[in-house]
Symmetry: D2
């Protein structure tokens, strides 16, 4: 879940809504796993330049520190993620969101046959970034690949290059549909959200429509009056059941949200011609 | 879940069966909460007199230490429990099974309006035992009440006294149906299992039928050949779907299992005339 | 450690100074235990009425969430505590500071022969507060005793009553020197700090002298220029080694700090004539 | 600490002796860090082929699960390790001992300028093993390098090759003294222990002398009567202060212990002529 808009207490985002993220951690309707109890993470912007990150391997739903910290921090841009581990270790360094400098990155989905392609993908990470990899999760390497391919300069192009490279590498190893993903990344100003899968059957992704429109549709909902006009949510599953509030992001598409902007674009993976690193043994 | 029979690697009990306890921690069909991710515990007998206990606040399903430890311990008597916290703190000292000397104790259900009756019940715990209470869970106090009322001498009478006292105390405070419970306790030789609720609508409890019978019914199931004739399981939800393997324990009933014994008896709570404890300083 | 003054990033307090609290958690010079690795906690005021609390059973020195959260929260009043457990369970609900409504409370020292006096002291806690006790630590009961005896109305009198009651109870059970303590408590406006021990040989307690004076003594120290004139620290061990910056609090004394105030008073425990609590059901 | 000999309850090794490993975790006399509170691990052989491993990021000294599990497992070969993290994440996958198949591996010391050499060393790990790396610690990569260079066939040669390669790689990057180490590894039958540092100023390593000799020297020590004649300890710091019980392993030396064997040999690192993998970008 990603939020951008007027500063809001993070707990309002996590605990207040019906079918909130915390509730989804117990009962996911649309996700691949019905329970997401293998850790969680939040990232937010506020005091200081770099975003804060709070990650834990405990289930989100009963974590008191998460509740207390989020009750006491207001932020105009929040990422939150709940994790269902599929094999890889349950450890904080595998929890999303991942952070590098001013950037946050999170991912639902999987790089398929991770054990098979992990080495080749890790080798393509810029050598100056390699030592910063701390965990064993596919998403961390995906993030560092995107950084290697220019995330800080042109996020859509970098994600397209990373996904193209992941698909090329997967195919080289005989993996049929190498990636399934919804990804969100931000530099603290804009948020980019991507929906893609090699097999064109991607996990769901929704964005909230223009708050003003929804306010007019639902003058009876008080919470909507508190949000600024430019508030936007990006989620895997709709929060609450307000008709007209949520739009599905189409297949193979990414959106840009923040600072008045709000646009959709087609997403086309393309492997870089000369990846920085040349995989060993080739 | 409680097992008694020939020594078996604990991991065989926890991970091997279809619809095992670990699986139930993710997808409970019959429990009040569909996910049980707020800690787990196991207790077992083996080396030494007292049972071992391993409890954790992490979800059971991805805990590697649980898997490793249980792969390397064989035991003829194992208790295992998964917890869904309802309000009280997620901490090891609230995880089942609880231990005192040679005894283990675990509980599914709740003492209703716990905050209202907690103090009166804790006061009835024998003063010499009071300081051993380490957590905030209703079950821990329930266990110490049972010890106060003679668990080590006559388990069924002690549980009947404890439940009677809980019901009397609840009613004094206007609690309608003061207790809902399935309880198992053991001294390492015999296991006692209780099914009861004030409203006569108790959580489910099953025991496995005589292994010999089931072997004859299902000669095709190899695992059954490994179990000793006197092996017995007591569970909240059946493990596996073998027709004829599981019997529901009736309402307001307790059973005794172990060392050849195998019997059912009616359960009748009765508050003790003179609860042991006279509050200090009065 | 307690800080009050102009809002400051909490991380500046915890990590910046030489011989900081985090450093003390590894190498305590004056404490009873040389390592304090059994959990930590911070409490702070900021967004919302009630203080935030973040506690963990992991050692403070390598906890990344602690670092990140404190890098991103500014507060005018911060409590921080590191714990060396002496017997009682290592669990978050035993970590300081403890919170009730707007109040925070923390303690270095011990109620002696805790297992012996625990029940009598817990019984004296107001019945309406009893169910809020979640852990097994002496300090939590101490705090609830102080609340029972009027902490929210007159903190020094309530602490004197609680300590008096603890000493009276200890003596009844033959405990020679029932309490050893430095205590700090706050309502978010003022902070009260107490130094006392039955044997008149109390753990150390220091307060920082007037910032203006220290600035004049040490114009070369930049950090001092950032602090407001009314900034005050209360600590068990001096942070840094600035001559003239720290004053020892005398034996059997308490101080009040905050909002311009700054005073010292003698501390005289006196057991209440009629402890509030009459054990239920008697 | 490594133990081999007659089966012994693991808790006897960890908690019983004066100046035990648990005690050392609080007060190390000879280690580089005086406190080792960033996790611990034990590995042992017993039920089943592969060793069991129990690792945790909590301090060892108050961990109840560690105490309970070790009270209930007997083993003829035990590895135990306490960790002081220097920068890398505090997570279970960074805790020693590391395991692969029947092998355990643990290390005191450091590969110097780890961030600089990490990528080159990871690239030299056999591609079929690379994906098994789960953490970010230097020791894990060291272990996989040793496996790559034949640990399972000839442990001393494989460690010599790994250390040689680490030194060669370090020097290529301008690292002055690339490695400081005491290492122990075992296949469940024999244990190999190594003492080495590039600068020939290695951390201490001791082995216990022949039990029979010590028994004769100290007939008054009862614990010695329980140990089998072939019992051996390998430790970083002596356990207890029995004169004549401990021998320092010399610089640049390794020993083999187990099954009657007991020998010392010089240790000479030598980089393999053709490391399996060719580092990328070369």
């Amino acid at each position: 879940m990603a939020y951008s808009g007027s500063p809001i207490r993070i707990a309002e985002l996590l605990y207040r809504p019906k079918h909130s993220l915390i509730d989804q951690s117990l009962h996911s309707d649309l996700g691949a796993e019905t329970t997401n109890g293998d850790g969680f993470g939040i990232g937010w912007y506020g005091v200081g330049e770099a975003p804060g990150v709070f990650r834990s391997i405990e289930p989100a739903w009963n974590n008191r520190n998460l509740r207390d910290v989020t009750e006491h921090i207001e932020s105009p841009l929040v990422f939150a993620h709940i994790r269902a581990a599929i094999g890889s270790a349950v450890q904080e360094t595998n929890c999303h969101p991942f952070r590098y400098g001013r950037w946050l990155f999170m991912h639902n989905g999987a790089i398929r046959e991770w054990a098979t392609v992990k080495r080749d993908l890790a080798l393509a990470v810029d050598p100056s970034l390699y030592a910063s990899i701390e965990g064993s999760a596919d998403t961390e390497v995906f993030f560092y690949l995107a950084l290697t391919f220019g995330l800080e300069d042109d996020p859509p192009a970098a994600i397209e290059a990373a996904v193209g490279y992941i698909e090329e590498t997967g195919k080289k190893h005989g993996v049929e549909d190498p990636i399934q993903m919804t990804v969100a990344t931000t530099d603290g100003r804009l948020t980019w959200a991507f929906r893609y899968s090699s097999e064109r059957d991607s996990r769901t992704l929704f964005y909230s429509t223009d708050v003003q429109t929804v306010r007019n549709l639902h003058p009876e909902v008080e919470a909507l009056q508190l949000l600024s006009d430019d508030a936007r949510f990006i989620v895997s599953e709709p929060i609450g059941a307000l008709p007209g509030a949520w739009n599905a992001v189409p297949e193979w598409t990414y959106g840009i949200v923040g600072q008045g902007q709000d646009s959709m674009h087609p997403f086309k993976p393309r492997a870089p011609a000369h990846p920085t690193a040349i995989p060993a043994g080739v």
